[in-house]
């Protein structure tokens, strides 16, 4: 009787996020891909298959795989020391640094593209490295954007890790390196795999970076879909590439879930942050170098924002309340910021609500093989939005969500919904690994003592999940603030978000407009950092309640 009830509740719980992702993601994407297979109403799969045989498509696929793979590897390698320093050590200014590290993730790619190119162009500071227009520059920019994902995801996991196993190993005579290699790293693997799979998806679907940094010499599947759909209206080609994208993602998810499968349950404790010691020096140096790498393009951006037609000053910032040089804007940048914030609040709430449900469900360990398979599918479904082209989704919205009862093409609600789709997988990836490592026996014990499912949730899961949940909230907020791809498809001219405003400024001539775009980007960066700091502050205040 009760198991039936519980199973029913689980199904109902699962139905909500499935319905949302089904309507706002699967349906539009399938709709557009189907157009490619049925070009004039008649089923013509050969055209799609022909596209897969083109040698250009093979080149594009290969570039996508190796650039994303390499960038993921580098982001993990660079992100780990930083995750350790920011989440296991305690020092003044840590909260600020945590927020700062997250900033690159939200910066508009157009602006970072220009900032990066100003560094790597022949006359830039790094001009001597001849990186301009090279594949190395693309990979560097991808790493720049994604290190924060690793820091955040692995950091949240690391923070919740009980330090006593490490202490025990050390007490038994293991060197710090041995402790890391034999105790810490294996325990971190699920978190790292989670982060790496998200980063890989981000890199494999990177769009603005590849276009700007690659100077057209390089193309990945995403830029190719963009060109085929928006410029050539070759839907068969776009469908073929979308399917290729789905295949890549599926393979990735299967591999990731194999690696991640059944991590040993961990004993958890309160935050174990400690002050830095002398033996942390190598890690601190490594983390410092990574921070410097993240700061360089941002510094270049700040400098550009302070550059006036004559000399230096805050003219660009003062101009943010105006429509710009020769009315480049319909709406002042500050209004754009207000729109962004309002949308971000809704998007964060949506993604956090759905994400918590999904994370809770995927972290349960079903007893039957079928149950596990269903749980795996369920998990994968919510990763898909990260790996599918924003162009495909945007065009899919247009041709599918156009009939009552869901005529949403012009609804302002579509923007936070679309952003929540992007943030949802991140919320799941941050929260699920932590929940999954809760020993199921704790839940069983609670249940056998008479606690209902809700009580188990509150007494067992929440004490472990509140940290990653808050971390995820900050991340989701940041994602929403910086989201450009889907938003630019959906924003109306009278309610643009800040990234949309920045894009407009930077695509109009005029020195003041470029300066204002840089200033607006700095404002976006500062707002993001402030939001993250606020979340961090909430975390500290709430320590006492548990």
């Amino acid at each position: 009787m009760t198991t039936v009830r519980v199973r029913f509740a689980t199904l109902l719980l699962a139905a909500v996020p499935v319905a949302v992702v089904g309507v706002f993601f699967v349906y539009p994407v399938v709709g557009l891909v189907a157009r490619g297979f049925w070009p004039d109403g008649a089923f013509a799969p050969t055209e799609v298959l022909d596209v897969l045989g083109r040698s250009r498509v093979h080149r594009v696929l290969w570039f996508t795989l190796w650039s994303a793979g390499l960038a993921t590897l580098l982001a993990v390698v660079l992100g780990l020391p930083l995750a350790f320093v920011l989440h296991r050590l305690r020092f003044p200014g840590r909260g600020f640094l945590r927020a700062l590290v997250l900033v690159p993730f939200v910066l508009p790619t157009v602006v970072v593209g220009v900032a990066f190119r100003q560094l790597t162009a022949p006359r830039g500071i790094l001009g001597g490295l001849h990186l301009d227009g090279s594949a190395a520059a693309i990979v560097a920019a991808l790493v720049f954007f994604n290190v924060s994902v690793v820091v955040r995801t692995v950091g949240a996991f690391w923070e919740a890790l009980d330090p006593r196993a490490e202490q025990a190993a050390a007490a038994l005579g293991a060197s710090p390196r041995q402790v890391f290699g034999t105790v810490t790293l294996p325990a971190l693997v699920p978190g790292i795999v989670s982060a790496a799979s998200v980063v890989f998806l981000f890199c494999a679907t990177a769009f603005g970076v590849v276009l700007t940094m690659g100077g057209l010499r390089y193309a990945n599947i995403e830029t190719e879909i963009y060109l085929l759909t928006t410029q050539e209206l070759d839907l068969s080609g776009a469908a073929a590439l979308s399917i290729l994208q789905l295949v890549v993602i599926t393979v990735l998810l299967v591999v990731a879930s194999r690696v991640r499968r059944d991590p040993a349950p961990l004993q958890r404790a309160q935050s174990a942050a400690r002050p830095p010691r002398l033996r942390d020096l190598p890690v601190l140096v490594a983390a410092g170098l990574v921070v410097a790498f993240l700061l360089l393009p941002m510094a270049s951006m700040v400098l550009a924002s302070l550059q006036q037609p004559v000399g230096w000053g805050l003219a660009n910032y003062r101009a943010l309340a105006t429509p710009g040089d020769d009315n480049a804007l319909l709406v002042p940048a500050l209004v754009g910021l207000r729109n962004s914030l309002a949308i971000a609040v809704v998007a964060t709430a949506l993604s956090l609500g759905l994400g918590a449900v999904v994370a809770g469900l995927v972290s349960r360990r079903p007893r039957t093989a079928t149950g596990r398979r269903v749980a795996g599918l369920f998990d994968g479904l919510f990763m898909l939005p990260l790996g599918v082209s924003a162009v495909t989704l945007g065009f899919g919205f247009l041709i599918t969500l156009d009939h009552p009862p869901i005529d949403l093409r012009t609804s302002p609600l579509l923007i936070p919904v679309a952003q929540a789709m992007v943030a949802l997988p991140l919320v799941v990836r941050i929260v699920a690994p932590v929940l999954r490592s809760v020993d199921p026996r704790q839940r069983e014990a609670a249940a056998s003592l008479g606690a209902g499912p809700l009580r188990v949730l509150l007494a067992v899961d929440l004490p472990v999940a509140w940290r990653p949940l808050l971390a995820a909230a900050g991340f989701a907020f940041a994602v929403s603030l910086g989201e450009f791809g889907a938003t630019s498809f959906l924003a109306r001219s009278d309610n643009p978000t800040l990234p949309v405003v920045i894009y407009r400024l930077i695509s109009h001539p005029g020195a003041l407009n470029l300066g204002m775009a840089m200033a607006a980007s700095c404002l976006l960066a500062a707002t993001t950092a402030a939001a993250i700091l606020l979340v961090e502050r909430l975390r500290i205040d709430s320590v006492g309640t548990f």
Binding site: R5, A9, T230, F395, L398, S411, P412, F489, R504, L514
Partner: protein, 358 residues
């Protein structure tokens, strides 16, 4: 045992409530569209991201006519056209503005538009297309995509700036030219079309020479102009020749000075004309017609240069003084017929991409 059941049923109730909320949310959004009775009061305009006309101008039109105008940007001219084609059975708007002469045939051939039935003065008619598009697409504005040079740089280096497309392949200008690419940028496409108009079937060989002369191809205009061009916003540029617009030079008049530091080469230009049209199956074709008419009138036309950096098609419209002095249009720009562009676009882009990406 009892209490456990009660708890889980409370959970179920909560879930049911949240599902209902969610459905209500999507339901509300579905109802958020304009009710049918209001359709004749609203004109929905699908346009490109560059739309930037002042609110008070639109308010004037709304006051005059009692109509409400809703502007919906849909990406660049290519995205706009493709979205119109994809949604032609259930149009996203009443009218479009922003389909240009490089995409016009795609819109016309796919039956996206109906006859506009808007009478326009001869200076506007002069920009109309030939063939089926003639009555469907009403010209609104145009711009000349031209090679620009940094005169200051050339003066400082005691060198003569180039004048023609052919000059760009000469050793004297090796490594000095930067252009956005044709596959990802609409001025880039215009430049490719200029070279096709100039060299005919021989254009691939011109582009090979251009690439051999160390031309840099970027993805977008912003990159080319603001990063690589010496006369642009950034201070790191190394290339004094860039592809931009004939209207770009006035933006380079330094603070306190009277003349720009750059100029456009008027023998290298391709003319882009932008059109407005009534969509087939529009809910409010009459309102769309009225707005298109308004767009071709003097007040709207005179506001175009300052707000959207394009020239008005109406010859009696006012043009800012800076523009008439420093941004003249090309006397004899290159042109490629719209149907030829439509027929060859894919093939040209593939060939171009192979040459440029090597």
């Amino acid at each position: 045992m009892r209490s456990r059941i009660r708890r889980s049923s409370r959970l179920v109730t909560g879930l049911a409530a949240s599902t209902a909320t969610l459905l209500a949310l999507t339901g509300c959004a579905a109802l958020g569209g304009e009710p049918d009775s209001n359709a004749s009061k609203t004109v929905v305009v699908a346009t490109h991201d560059s739309w930037n006309m002042p609110d008070d101008l639109i308010a004037q039109f709304e006051e005059q006519t009692g109509l409400t105008v809703r502007i919906q940007p849909q990406g660049d001219a290519g995205q706009l056209t493709n979205k119109l084609v994809l949604t032609k059975d259930d149009p996203i708007a009443d009218m479009e503005y922003g389909v240009d002469n490089t995409f016009a045939s795609r819109a016309v051939d796919n039956g996206v538009l109906q006859d506009a039935d808007v009478d326009t003065p001869p200076s506007v008619d002069a920009h109309r297309l030939d063939g089926a598009g003639h009555d469907q697409l009403v010209p609104i504005d145009y711009s000349d995509v031209c090679v620009n040079v940094d005169d200051t740089w050339f003066a400082e280096h005691h060198r003569t700036p180039p004048r023609t497309l052919a000059d760009l392949t000469r050793p004297a200008y090796r490594g000095l030219f930067v252009t956005p690419g044709a596959s990802s940028s609409s001025p880039g496409m215009a430049f490719l079309l200029a070279t096709i108009a100039r060299y005919g079937d021989q254009w691939p060989s011109y582009w090979r020479k251009l690439m051999a002369n160390e031309t840099l191809v970027t993805s977008g205009w912003t990159d080319a102009y603001e990063v690589d061009f010496t006369g642009g916003g950034g201070k790191h540029g190394t290339r004094p020749i860039v592809l931009s617009y004939s209207s770009s030079p006035p933006f380079t008049i330094p603070e306190g000075a009277t003349r720009p530091t750059t100029s456009a080469l008027l023998d290298t230009c391709f003319r882009q004309v932008e059109y407005a049209g009534v969509l087939a199956g529009a809910a409010n074709p009459a309102g769309a017609r009225k707005f298109i008419e308004f767009m071709t009138q003097r007040r709207f036309q005179s506001a175009l240069p300052d707000n959207m950096y394009v020239y008005p098609v109406l010859d009696s419209a006012e043009v800012p003084e800076d523009w008439s002095r420093w941004a003249p249009t090309a006397p004899d720009p290159y042109q490629v017929p719209a149907d030829e562009v439509a027929a060859n676009r894919s093939r040209w882009l593939t060939t171009w991409r192979d040459i440029v990406t090597g």
